[in-house]
């Protein structure tokens, strides 16, 4: 005769009992609001984007499942490959420059930390661009390099220097946008680095000083290892910002001259909102997401900071 016993209970029921007994559900309850928002505004749109990338999307005439055809078409499209190349160029310019400049400024302010007023003032000056919106940044820098009335053009004319065409020059357009982006982003990263530098125990530097360790050695042996978590945070943040750069490119050059500064996010925008090729745009979005994810994880691995993510 069949008798109920612990051994007969389905494993799932046992797991549920254990779950309830251990009050794990309380923890889930605490994060439920976040999970709901994350699911609604991040996970679902990303999932739906991936789903859309498999369709020739046209709800009026009827969407058609095309499998990976949108991805194949992307890599057959010279314009996409050009946008991909430009994105990599842009990331290569922006990420190292932002981190280097931010760290340099943070170190300088760290050295001057004795003068509180000067330090605070410099902090405010460096951080203030970050408070501006992308449209203000783009318009300001576009005006700086205006070939008729720009301040840089005026400077060149005053000193009789040969003035490049700047934003109208395919060689200069992307570097100028990258420079404007660095100027915009550097303040926040600087604050992050400053906070990390402030957390380093002073005793380490005092011992190093007594032992006569030069600054470059102090930087490599003490500072860099101890600010690694901040470095990772800034790297990931800057990498993501650089990969999804859109506003400043749209407003400063519109992707031009020609397509010299057209980046992936802009390519995606034209396809989605100008040509209404939603499937193709979604596929480009998935590629962008994949690239950002892979490079972020690569950065984590290279910096040896796996534990920071756990």
């Amino acid at each position: 005769m069949f008798r109920w016993g612990r051994g007969n209970l389905a494993p799932s029921i046992l797991a549920m009992r254990s779950f309830l007994r251990r009050r794990e559900w309380e923890g889930w309850l605490y994060i439920l609001p976040y999970l709901l928002l994350w699911g609604t505004f991040i996970a679902w749109p990303v999932g739906y984007g991936i789903y859309l990338s498999l369709f020739d999307w046209n709800p009026i005439r009827g969407s058609r499942y095309v499998g990976l055809a949108n991805y194949v078409a992307l890599f057959d499209d010279e314009r996409f490959l050009n946008a991909l190349t430009n994105t990599f160029k842009f990331v290569t310019m922006v990420v190292p420059l932002t981190l280097t400049v931010a760290l340099t400024f943070a170190l300088l302010l760290w050295f001057w930390r004795g003068s509180k007023i000067l330090s605070n003032l410099a902090q405010a000056v460096f951080f203030s661009p970050y408070l501006l919106t992308v449209s203000v940044i783009a318009i300001t820098w576009r005006w700086f390099f205006d070939p008729d009335f720009g301040i840089v053009t005026a400077f060149c004319k005053t000193f009789h220097l040969a003035c490049p065409k700047f934003l109208a020059d395919p060689l200069w357009a992307l570097p100028i946008i990258a420079f404007a982006t660095v100027w915009w982003l550097v303040g926040y990263r600087m604050i992050v680095f400053q906070a990390a530098l402030g957390d380093i125990p002073q005793e380490l530097f005092e011992v190093a000083k007594i032992d006569g360790v030069p600054f470059c050695q102090q930087f490599i042996r003490i500072i860099l290892p101890l600010i690694k978590p901040s470095l990772l945070f800034s790297l990931v943040l800057t990498l993501i910002s650089a990969f999804r750069t859109f506003g400043q490119v749209l407003m400063m050059t519109g992707g031009g001259p020609g397509r010299a500064s057209e980046v992936l996010a802009l390519y995606l925008y034209w396809n989605a909102f100008e040509y209404f090729r939603i499937g193709r745009a979604a596929a480009a979005g998935v590629v962008l997401l994949g690239l950002t994810l892979v490079l972020t994880l690569l950065g984590v691995k290279l910096l040896g900071l796996k534990s920071e993510l756990q």
Partner: protein, 418 residues
């Protein structure tokens, strides 16, 4: 307490009557901004005063993503009841629009009493596709020649005789350059699409066509196309009449530019700048004095199946009112009204705009000298392909011949895609 109850009932009753009186709600979406948006708002306000039974919500000023938003609104079954569509966007947008002569509630044109004979035949027909009328013409707009009279005087030119032939034009440019000013800017603020329009003007003036009639292939990579592009490139380079990347609007309003090709929408800006300006037709440089232009038209986006007839009729009533009062549109927005009766309004004919520039643009329109952009389901992509390489030629990155060859190849690839 009883009194309060009665008062509440009366209040509810009034609310119900008010609701009945305003039973039709129309959303009207446009892509207009600045002076255009103000002009449209003025017309809609007049309509609101004349037709209190129809509530109109006017949403304006989203030029960049307007068409994408219109499509998405139709897909979401929450479209505006009235919208604007550039005539050259019809083929791209047709799936998202209601055929006005075959709507689910009948022939809206007849129901609203809209008379096609009030509009220029070509402009009216431009709103037809697949045997149906989708659009009601609102205006025609286009580029003309704006010139600075003071610079003309400084350059020894007659400020009352702007150049109208190739020889006159070249002579004027050289004289202005010699006087120390930017001589000529052919493309407003030099955005890629503006450079393309300038090239199109030169090319159309030579009798060229961008594509074959069936849109199977590009037809601009030829001697005429090359000559037109070389002329455009030389303006910014060899001729020294302007600089690469120069903004014609800014140069003109700063009093630094002699002549500018720009649209009629430049009028309020030119006026405010204080520049002593004149306006003339685009000169006949290469044979036929064509200019670039387009037409804003009114449309009824595709409505959900259960949309009541009253809503359609309300939208059409508003559309008719707008076209009949388009003199305001012309006076304030600068675009030439398509409705012939509106163009006869004495308030328009006496306005500064009409006297200073409007009548000249209207003359170009009536003579059929305004060439509309291409109308193709992938028109935006095709135009982008052309303007990308034209811009690269202008900035000196590639030669004009190379630019045309690349643009042709890309256009043909777009046309060959399913």
């Amino acid at each position: 307490m009883k009194r309060l109850g009665v008062l509440f009932a009366v209040f509810l009753g009034l609310g119900w009557f008010w609701g009945l009186a305003q039973s039709v709600k129309i959303e009207f979406n446009t892509l207009f901004h600045e002076a255009d948006a103000k002009a449209m708002e003025d017309i809609v306000n007049l309509f609101r005063a004349a037709h209190p039974e129809i509530q109109v919500e006017l949403v304006q000023g989203r030029w960049e993503q307007y068409y994408a938003e219109l499509r998405l609104a139709v897909i979401a079954k929450n479209p505006p009841q009235l919208g604007i569509c550039h005539v050259n966007r019809l083929m791209e947008m047709v799936d998202y629009l209601t055929p006005l002569d075959a709507s689910p509630v009948g022939n809206l044109l007849e129901l609203a009493g809209i008379d096609p004979s009030l509009f220029p035949e070509a402009t009216w027909k431009a709103g037809q596709i697949n045997g149906h009328q989708y659009l009601i013409p609102l205006d025609t707009h286009g580029w003309g020649l704006w010139y600075n009279k003071d610079i003309f005087v400084a350059a020894g030119l007659d400020p009352n005789k702007p150049p109208q032939t190739y020889d006159e034009f070249i002579a004027a440019c050289e004289a202005i350059k010699k006087a120390g000013f930017y001589a000529f800017h052919p493309a407003e603020d030099a955005l890629p699409r503006k450079l393309r329009r300038a090239w199109e003007i030169f090319y159309y003036q030579m009798g060229g066509e961008l594509f074959d009639p069936a849109f199977t292939k590009a037809t601009f990579n030829n001697e005429k196309g090359l000559k037109a592009l070389e002329f455009l490139v030389n303006i910014f380079n060899a001729y020294g009449w302007n600089v690469v990347g120069g903004n014609g609007y800014a140069q003109f309003t700063a009093g630094q530019l002699g002549m500018l090709f720009a649209g009629n929408w430049f009028y309020p800006t030119a006026k405010q700048s204080g520049v002593n300006f004149g306006y003339a037709p685009v000169p006949n440089l290469f044979g036929i004095p064509y200019t670039w232009g387009a037409s804003h038209q009114l449309c009824v986006p595709l409505q959900p199946a259960d949309t009541p007839k009253e809503v359609y009729l309300g939208a059409m009533k508003l559309a008719r009112f707008i076209t009949e009062n388009a003199y305001i549109w012309t006076m304030s927005g600068g675009h030439i009204a398509a409705n012939k009766e509106a163009l006869k309004d004495p308030r328009l004919l006496e306005s500064d705009y009409w006297k200073e520039s409007g009548h000249i643009l209207n003359d170009m329109i009536q003579k059929g000298l305004v060439r509309f952009p291409i109308n193709h389901p992938r028109g935006s992509q095709l135009e982008n392909a052309i303007e990308t390489y034209i811009q690269l030629a202008v900035v000196g990155q590639i030669s004009p011949a190379e630019a045309l060859a690349k643009a042709e190849a890309e256009c043909n690839k777009i046309l060959s895609e399913k």
